[in-house]
Symmetry: C2
Subunit: 541 residues, 2 copies
């Protein structure tokens, strides 16, 4: 620390000057200025992001209330305006109770999922209010919400976000009586650009239909209506919410849990606030930390937290419960890929659940090959997280990374050198289901590169690759055999001629017999190549 004091007076002023400028920044202001963090970097992507946030919310609401979802999406150009659209999304979900409408749509960081360990699409409490924020920023107009919980009352609310306070500002509000329905309709006006391309809204909805086959989605686009019909009539199993696993809890979280627990003893704290801690494990932790079992958790602070934390690490515990996950399962993935892509071969693998940083997750993959898939292009990659298609930032995504790191040549496919997607008539599907998906940004477009996740994706792809390689190799060998046979067929007259001369039999008869044998498959022209090494387990997994 410098002891110079010459310019003291001037500097004192500076410190106070600085202090006058220091003030609180609301999360709404923050994202208003950093809207690209929420996926609103450009007009084309912005339109997709608005639709995605609303559809994700609708699907989550329907599933939570165990309602088979009917969703209507509409995107229409505002007449007389360039690059300005009205987007509306309507569902048949449970609706929103009146007192929460404002905050659900008009307050960032407000939601029901953040504080739970539960597999759901939303988790941050930013998505839909972020869309409202983008809408008012670029159109100056309020969001229009219409909702009913099925009690005969329909609430209509026009709202904006007061960005200084991060609180809803109700512009208009009324209640209509008489109509019995339930659900939510949100209508937003925003700057956007409508382009049909690989990352378009219709592609997003197509992939959503693939991973949510129990949802019916009607899309009224600027180019006309598309209907994605449900192929399954029942909802998937309901995912369960779980408590944190002690081995996934950081010391700072442990400290906070100790201070806010309702348990009055340490034993009670461990057995009720965590998963996988029984009486005996709790007692072992407490013994190792040298505390009394009846110590009030609220009295533990400072260096004692560290002691307790170290003790937790030393005790062996069962992995977190894994029935909290609701994967798509192999059958559904295979059917979806067949229906959408019309390949000649398809294989899907659902891995057993695993754990990263204490969070259960589960990987499943599907590989489609041949058929109507384009033969000479780089593989199409479909990424999903908790059933939501990820459309952007593949370059930054653990799922894409794992796919590129597989040595696809081992499985009979072509692949450019270096980590790359395979080339050929192939499409790859990867889904991560988790109680907490580690996205690389608030816009939820890419998965952070946890080694556990990359490893699981690779194991799944290798298993799928081995199955695929059997098919691809069989097909290749059959093709080669057919080629050899057609060559042999060409020489039948000469072979027959030679045999006739050697045996004295009639040439025409011999030729006819040879042709007959070839047709019946009794002549098999053996593969003279070395037998291929079976595609075994890769070492790099």
């Amino acid at each position: 620390m410098s002891d110079k004091t010459a310019d003291r007076v001037e500097r004192v002023r500076s410190a106070e000057d600085l202090s006058r400028d220091q003030r609180e920044i609301s999360i709404s202001e923050f994202f208003e200025k950093n809207r690209h963090l929420l996926g609103y970097d450009n007009k084309v992507k912005a339109l997709l992001t608005v639709v995605r946030e609303a559809v994700d919310n609708s699907l989550d609401a329907c599933e939570t209330a165990r309602i088979v979802p009917d969703i209507k999406v509409s995107v229409k150009l505002v007449s007389g305006m360039k690059d300005r659209y009205v987007i509306s999304v309507e569902d048949n979900g449970p609706g929103i109770v009146k007192q929460n409408i404002g905050r659900v749509f008009g307050k960032l960081l407000f939601g029901s999922k953040f504080h739970k360990l539960l597999q759901s699409r939303g988790q941050q409490g930013i998505g839909i209010s972020g869309a409202v924020l983008y809408s008012q920023l670029t159109s100056g107009k309020p969001a229009k919400i219409v909702t009913s919980t099925g009690d005969g009352k329909t609430h209509c609310m026009d709202l904006m976000i007061d960005t200084f306070k991060n609180e809803p500002e109700i512009i208009k509000e009324d209640v209509r009586e008489g109509k019995n329905w339930h659900g939510v309709k949100i209508e937003l006006e925003a700057e956007g650009k409508y382009v049909e391309h690989q990352q378009s809204i219709s592609e997003y909805l197509k992939q959503t239909a693939l991973s949510n086959p129990y949802a019916e989605i009607i899309y009224d686009s600027p180019d006309g209506k598309i209907k994605f019909e449900r192929s399954v009539k029942t909802l998937p199993e309901e995912p369960k919410s779980i408590k944190p696993h002690p081995h996934g809890v950081e010391i700072g979280i442990l400290r906070r849990m100790l201070r806010t627990t309702e348990a009055r003893t340490l034993t009670g704290f461990f057995t009720t606030d965590f998963s996988r801690v029984g009486q005996s494990s709790a007692k072992e932790i407490i013994r190792l930390a040298k505390f009394g079992e009846d110590v009030n958790p609220k009295n533990i602070d400072g260096p004692q937290v560290e002691k307790l934390f170290q003790a937790v690490q030393q005790v062996q515990l069962i992995k977190p419960p894994l029935d909290c996950l609701s994967p798509l399962r192999e059958k559904l993935i295979e059917e979806g890929l067949k229906k959408q892509l019309k390949p000649e071969y398809v294989v899907a693998i659902t891995r057993p659940p695993d754990v990263y940083r204490g969070n259960p997750f589960q990987i499943e993959v599907g590989v489609a090959y041949g058929g109507e898939l384009p033969p000479d292009s780089v593989a199409a990659l479909y990424r999903f997280a908790n059933r939501v298609p990820l459309m952007y930032q593949a370059g930054d995504c653990a799922l894409a990374k794992a796919v590129s790191e597989i040595e696809w040549r081992r499985y009979g496919l072509e692949q450019a050198s270096g980590a790359a997607l395979p080339t050929g008539p192939i499409a790859i599907f990867v889904h991560i289901a988790s109680v907490w998906v580690p996205f690389t940004s608030e816009s939820k477009e890419a998965i952070a590169s946890y080694p556990e996740i990359i490893k699981e994706v690779k194991l799944a792809l290798q298993e799928a690759g081995r199955k695929l390689s059997i098919y691809v190799n069989k097909k290749r060998r059959a093709g080669e055999a057919a080629l050899r046979m057609s060559l042999f067929e060409k020489y039948i007259p000469e072979v027959a001629d030679a045999l006739a001369r050697l045996s004295g039999a009639e040439k025409g008869k011999i030729a006819a017999k040879l042709e007959n044998m070839l047709k019946k498959g009794k002549v098999v022209i053996e593969d003279t190549e070395e037998p291929e090494k079976p595609a075994g387990k890769e070492d790099d997994a």
Copy 2:
């Protein structure tokens, strides 16, 4: 909207169930759970991020108070612990007034820079409190702050963040009198891993010294002390804070500015709250929108905002003032590159300022070639934003993208096909200075791909490339000429022999003369290749 009512009762319960779970999420909780968004994805990077946030803050504080910075950084392993370090950063800045210490370090989204358009390192009010959050999460320990504003009082404060409230929690606090100094020292204990590699703390500090040559940095690392001495004794020009430019303001912001302005007339609003709007421009806007000049801005709302917004777009205005930027300038970049990399050739280009989304920015680049740079590797790329080295996520960064999109072969360099960095003894430096740097994430590691930014980087690199190519080509031609001359030298005896026989002169004399001429450079062996096309302006810029 569905009219089914059969399961109404059950669903009503669901909507209310849902509402009970809905609650506010504090920004601290959010980043605690999403710490990778702040750059704390792994232990190695986390240690660097903690140092970076503290050093950025110190440099900003010193510059704002116009103090030439002296910074001490220390990173030490906690004895007896694996992967646990104590990081401390100390500066000679203006210090922090007592009443703000808590919130500067213990509240996320609190700061002096967010609400200004000013070139500074920090802009979000998240950095240093994010480091405190990471520290308490992984060590359970408070941050220790020691500061004085030069009034003889030293404030010592141990604090943590109450993550539920996003407010500082003061653990311990005292004041010591008598010592006259000013500055801040912050000490944090956190999980980390210390590795010397390309993205290490010492590399970060080395690059910081390169772009802040007026700062002295002493680094006490786990491996020993390193001192980066200042090479310049004066601070760069002070960047000025500017008002927003009307063409960079979105309609939602305009609406808010209307409601919060202190101006009482529309004319006053435009001329005082914006840059580049004089009386006549203001009057033109108001006339186009068909308002009266004396209308109170606070009375404008709803569709009237849109009318005013459209009018603003129609009026021609001068670009934003550009003296708000403080680039490094060519001389400083060239000197820095020479000192650090010892190349044989160096060129730097500082572009004139430009504007993206209403925000002034300025690009400068440097290219170093040959000398001690490794001859066969891919070019080293140094990225900077407002003088801060960017160490991660180059793959996602507009600066890196622009460098790779240059056709370096035009400038005599080797380059792999497709967009790639050039290969050879070359290092590339790119700096963006802006009043608002558009980072792709809160961890501030990569620049978002605004076309204006990419275009400016390319123009700068092309200009540097043209200068470099003259040098590279000259060097190559000189090398080839030397090669041809040495070949000619070999044949001197034979040429002399032939000439002697033809002319009758003495062979030895002729040979001596020829050698002499070669040495004096009077014989120039002409390049027989086609003259090269001058490296002109690329079309793809």
